[in-house]
Symmetry: C2
Subunit: 438 residues, 2 copies
Amino acid sequence: MRLSRYFLPTLKENPAEAQVTSHRLMLRAGMVRQSSAGIYSWLPFGYKVLMNIQRIVEEEQDAMGCHQMLMPTIQAADLWRESGRYDAYGPEMLRIRDRHDRDMLYGPTNEEQITEIFRDAVKSYRDVPSLLYHIQWKFRDEVRPRFGVMRGREFLMKDAYSFDMDDESGRISYNKFFVSYLRIYARLGLKVIPMAADTGPIGGDMSHEFLILAKTGESEIACHKDFLEMDWAEREIDFDSDLQPIVDQFTTKYAATDEKRDLEHESTLGDDLVTARGIEVGHIFHFGTKYSDPLGARVTTADGDEVTVSMGSYGVGVSRLVGAVIEASHDDDGIIWPESIAPFKVGLINLKSGDEACDSACLGMYNDLRKAGIDVLMDDREIRAGGKFADMDLIGLPWQLIAGPRGLKDGMVELKNRATGEREDMSIDSAIAKLTAS
Amino acid sequence: MRLSRYFLPTLKENPAEAQVTSHRLMLRAGMVRQSSAGIYSWLPFGYKVLMNIQRIVEEEQDAMGCHQMLMPTIQAADLWRESGRYDAYGPEMLRIRDRHDRDMLYGPTNEEQITEIFRDAVKSYRDVPSLLYHIQWKFRDEVRPRFGVMRGREFLMKDAYSFDMDDESGRISYNKFFVSYLRIYARLGLKVIPMAADTGPIGGDMSHEFLILAKTGESEIACHKDFLEMDWAEREIDFDSDLQPIVDQFTTKYAATDEKRDLEHESTLGDDLVTARGIEVGHIFHFGTKYSDPLGARVTTADGDEVTVSMGSYGVGVSRLVGAVIEASHDDDGIIWPESIAPFKVGLINLKSGDEACDSACLGMYNDLRKAGIDVLMDDREIRAGGKFADMDLIGLPWQLIAGPRGLKDGMVELKNRATGEREDMSIDSAIAKLTAS
């Protein structure tokens, strides 16, 4: 992409309305603009990151045998009356009346809807377990939206649902999601700690929140310090195998969110205890027949009996993750994208746009990189070099390829690694080769 | 994908609520389920088609230099008050009041919003022309939603917007979209006729609707019979070249929607006139300063003057296209997907699931096809062969690979082309080779 033709309205100054780093950097890097309180437009640069995260979530959910579908944003109130949640849900639910005076709502979540779909479609044990997910915009009418996309009102979420014959089989589904989530966050370059979370009246141990540690975290958490040394690397998984050992590995040590902290136990941990602030980026939850019972989602067993299916739901905050990744990966100059979700791999800086030799050398590199399948953003604007350096650091592409008239005379360019700050003078060919190989 | 693990609730009977072919087939093929009036959930099979169409639209919009972004579904009423449309828009607008009693709405379109974004971000002629698009769910509270996804209330639309220094430059942008649309519809296997459409008070000739001819079309159209013979094949385009000759080629002959028909002119056409019913699948429209003027979207020229930018908007009904493609491509047995958007290329029918030899031969072919990068759906359910044949015809995958114990004894399978009905007995290797090569 040529920056001169792109839509990337960066800001030099810190916007007054942004309280946290990620919000500030997303505004400055031209990723989002607020449309109304807690509601954002994603400009092209931000949209690419959002979709890169979505793609990783999709790939990992597909890999575990979960099927993608899409439920609508607007739901009938009557469906929520079946589960009893229409009246129970507070003012965070955006309630709507349509032209025929029917009560509707903008879905904050989809348990009722997916249960209805399953109930009407599946009648036999042969079609169970069933794992379904969708990635759709949700709305929660927060009384005080803040932190940019981290606590917005309209937000993009992946929510998945499992249907099993019984709770034991439900645990197998639950474990698949648990392990799939470890893979998702590892691919995003995030260290995420699974923490025991509230299960509500159902009880049991099958509810975990996934949190990253960050100073701007919304809640205080406590965990065993071994979590900080845990191996988060992506692991190869056979999802048909027994995943309990992996789940155990990440749940045996103490880790708890605010509401679940056990101060008595913490007092026994001594120096092994760490407290910090965390940002929730996922939540998985087995809730048995909470929805299948009132909505009547029943299937026949091999013996011809009828059972109410056992369910769980599994959420990842896709738009929130954009902010969370930035909270975890930035410096004073701007964002530092992990390569897995960087909107472009390389930023090519033409230090003297308008100079024929510079333009032609840069265009050559630009075309070579694109031919090699590398996404590159070329700064070909006719502005001062200082502005180009600042913008390139701000938007945080993993590699900067810097070309000016002096170096180009000898066929040399500079290659800078955004994360380490390392710079290297090298020939054009070596630079291209290095970027193509890495 | 193994059908035994997939979520594909096909229906044997025609659902009573479906009046048109595409709606009937989408319900029967397990593509969608109605959630409430005019609002649908997309089940996995339907969602794949929807995304395949979206991908083609994205590729073609990207190729013409239009940048993808994403605007939210919920908009502030105040923004629409700036353009005067909040009061002008009828009951089709879904009006919402949030918890702070602010007037909001579910966007039926995005002219105001994109104009606000452009106005706040772009100040100089250097950043114009600017072409932006997004693909987002819209809501129009139709009084009588019908025809399934063809006239739903919540629908997926690609809407693009152009910003130019003047109307002459606006025509260049308009022509790019015109030609890009020809490519999109060609890739979807559709014959689409561009028809002069209403420009409203602005006048001029820069408004076209793109219609496919279908018996179930919602409006009567008339056109020169030469359109039926027009060459719709995908063409290579240099979008920086003058596209007027291509636009002329598709607009010189007479073609008009209901409201624009010129009966006097039609009477001179004699046998060259064709009347038919049409389904609108796109609409492009240059409207000058209609929104940029009230919203104050102005940029400075090279001379330091200020001008109000000239705009156009360009829509493709993405979810509606799923229905439109089916209206254009089906037979008595079911859907016939064009390969470009087929959710799977091959349906592999195991005639005797549970038979060890059959299962193992089918699994071998399944793995070979997948290794070759071919999307295949294997019907491994333990049901009668008749049900498998009927379902496979119904869901309309381009190729059926049929394997039973009798043929497999001699290493033979049957390959059926869904569109032509042609069947061929061949060795497993030849079948795989043919599917891999085609």
